[in-house]
């Protein structure tokens, strides 16, 4: 199902939750909507589900205007952040709820419930369909919530921070499983999260939101490599921000005229005094500290009055160095206002 939104505006009191949102969610793709809390991503999701009526703008699903259509008639299934499983029903009844509403015969309901439970790999837990949500682990509850949504074979699957209540280990695994599941079923999916790593890893199509607007969207690799906006650059990855400009010889000069953004993994440290190839921007600096992160060492380097991060393969001792960033990896913006536009 292709979903298109046009000019969505929604206010809560004086807060502008959606400030004119336009986007096409491609059919069969997983679109991750990412942004800091309060950026409007959850409101966008609730507009798609039909729980929030936009003040302006339209929602189209497969070319049909569904803006005024109530949530019951939208064929989109929402997985809630806290799962919203019904505690007074068994797992079976939870998953069967939507199917029974469609007045399917009991045998068909049973078949579809088993199919949905198998899809989320809960069929391996014997007797789970007779248990109540409270008797399940967080990860299992999450799967039941997914199964309940998938059982009705929705045209659009909406996931609201689906992993935020799981611990780190389980989160990694379930994230991969959601990805696989989405590929296998081909259901158009909108996945809302505040975790940039989660969004980058799972998305076919990435939407970055801030202050009720879509700041940038596109393939995750594209958005990560070419942020069009200081906010996006800062939000994705470990990004250094310096107030400064690059001189003709490549030297970084402190200045209030411009802002330079570069990622820790693009930042190299050279011995002081060594001459650099011409395609680098550089500045003399001093290593303050160096932490071992497992896959890299992260050096804290004092450059003027700011500390920037540089990821290195080997440990670097304290002392004078040259910070060097390839020119094509350096993002130059004019002005020096803070990146967040709120």
């Amino acid at each position: 199902m292709e979903v298109r939104v046009e000019g969505l505006v929604k206010r809560y009191g004086r807060v502008l939750a959606l400030a004119g949102v336009n986007h096409v969610f491609p059919s069969g793709a997983l679109t991750a909507v990412v942004g800091p809390s309060g950026c409007g991503k959850t409101t966008l999701l609730r507009v798609l589900a039909g729980f929030v009526q936009p003040e302006e703008g339209r929602v189209w699903m497969d070319g049909r205007d569904v803006t005024g259509v109530p949530p019951q008639a939208r064929r989109c299934a929402l997985v809630f952040q806290n799962y919203a499983l019904w505690p007074h029903m068994t797992v079976f009844d939870n998953v069967a709820f939507g199917l029974r509403l469609q007045r399917l015969p009991a045998s068909e309901v049973e078949r579809r419930v088993r199919e949905a439970l198998a899809l989320v790999e809960l069929d391996r837990v014997p007797g789970i369909e007779r248990r109540r949500p409270k008797e399940l682990s967080g990860g299992q509850q999450q799967r039941v919530a997914l199964a309940r949504a998938l059982a009705v074979r929705p045209g659009l699957l909406l996931l609201d921070e689906p992993l935020s209540n799981l611990d780190a280990k389980v989160r990694q695994r379930v994230r991969g499983e959601i990805r696989t599941l989405q590929r296998r079923t081909g259901i158009t999916t909108v996945y809302v999260t505040h975790d940039q790593e989660e969004a980058l890893s799972i998305a076919d199509d990435l939407v970055v939101m801030d202050g009720g607007r879509i700041v940038q969207s596109g393939r995750p690799e594209e958005v990560y490599a070419h942020p069009e906006d200081p906010f996006v650059a800062e939000f994705l990855g470990s990004t250094n921000v310096l107030n400064g400009t690059v001189g003709p010889d490549g030297r970084i000069l402190p200045s209030s005229e411009g802002r330079l953004l570069f990622r820790a993994e693009d930042t190299a440290l050279w011995p002081a005094g060594q001459s650099l190839p011409p395609d680098y921007a550089w500045a003399p600096a001093e290593v303050v500290d160096c932490l071992f992160l497992g896959h890299v060492y992260r050096a804290y380097v004092r450059l003027g009055d700011t500390v920037v991060l540089a990821d290195t393969k080997a440990r670097v001792g304290p002392g004078q160095v040259v910070v060097a960033v390839p020119r094509d990896r350096l993002l130059v913006f004019s002005g020096s206002e803070p990146a967040a536009r709120r």
Partner: protein, 271 residues
């Protein structure tokens, strides 16, 4: 050094407390029990001279039994009516969709805020005008005044403790608002419904002031009967009635403890 054994003072204090509880709780009960079986008990004898079940057997027939069954009927009708009215009001209040919400809620706690007697007395005047005085519907109405307070507030708390996303999940899968309410919301609010039913039932069963003012002399419930009995110096009948009245109270309160959750009570009075 060993720690000193429990101090004498502490022991004495605990014993005194125990004695106090014994006197305050068991004492009156014991006296009621004694009076209920005393067929002849003249001062200054410490115990009844003649003990028997005469008054208990009188309780199980005639007027007292009629008062009991009538009281139970009135309490049942009051409970059903109170719930029927309170469930929709409480649900709308909990979801903040009640027009003038806090004000409407305050309306339901108002009767408890004033001294009851004047409220009931002025209600009685109105009831005479409407030919409701001395009728069962009149007594039910006066019981509803207090009963609705318990029902609305307990139920509002019960509905408020149910996350709206549980309802949204049902609507998201295609359930209408009505079906969502009966399949999701109401079953989850059941402990609160049972708790408020018990509260209303007990309130009605034990209500005295309004019943006497509105119902007497034609509608007599057990508390009113007990009152008239003790006025006539029939302490035995009054004692038997009191003990009989205690049974549903104790049983239902024990039940109530299972259903009434702390968060329901914590909500009382919060607008």
């Amino acid at each position: 050094m060993r720690s000193p054994s429990p101090s004498l003072l502490g022991l004495v204090g605990r014993a005194a407390l125990g004695a106090l509880v014994l006197v305050a709780v068991v004492g009156p009960l014991l006296s009621l029990g004694l009076w209920s079986v005393a067929e002849r008990w003249h001062w200054p004898a410490p115990f009844p001279q003649q003990v028997g079940m005469k008054y208990w057997s009188r309780m199980l027939q005639g007027d007292p039994l009629r008062a009991l069954t009538r009281g139970v009927t009135i309490a049942s009708v009051t409970t059903v009516l109170a719930l029927a009215m309170a469930v929709p009001v409480a649900y709308l209040a909990a979801r903040r969709r009640l027009p003038a919400g806090p004000l409407a809620l305050a309306l339901f706690i108002l009767p408890q805020a004033f001294p009851q007697l004047p409220v009931f007395a002025s209600a009685t005047v109105l009831f005479y005008r409407w030919n409701l005085a001395g009728t069962v519907p009149g007594v039910v109405l006066i019981h509803l005044v207090g009963g609705l307070v318990y029902a609305v507030w307990t139920l509002t708390a019960a509905f408020r403790s149910i996350g709206p996303e549980l309802e949204e999940a049902a609507q998201n899968l295609g359930a209408s608002t009505t079906r969502t309410f009966f399949r999701v919301t109401l079953p989850l609010a059941m402990p609160g419904v049972v708790a408020s039913a018990i509260l209303v039932f007990l309130h009605s069963l034990d209500e005295f002031n309004g019943t006497l003012l509105v119902g007497a002399p034609y509608v007599t419930t057990l508390p009113v009967y007990m009152y008239t009995a003790s006025l006539g110096y029939e302490l035995q009948i009054a004692s038997v009635t009191a003990l009989v009245l205690m049974v549903p109270g104790v049983v239902l309160l024990l039940l109530l403890e299972r259903f009434l959750r702390a968060e329901y009570l914590a909500f009382f009075g919060h607008l």
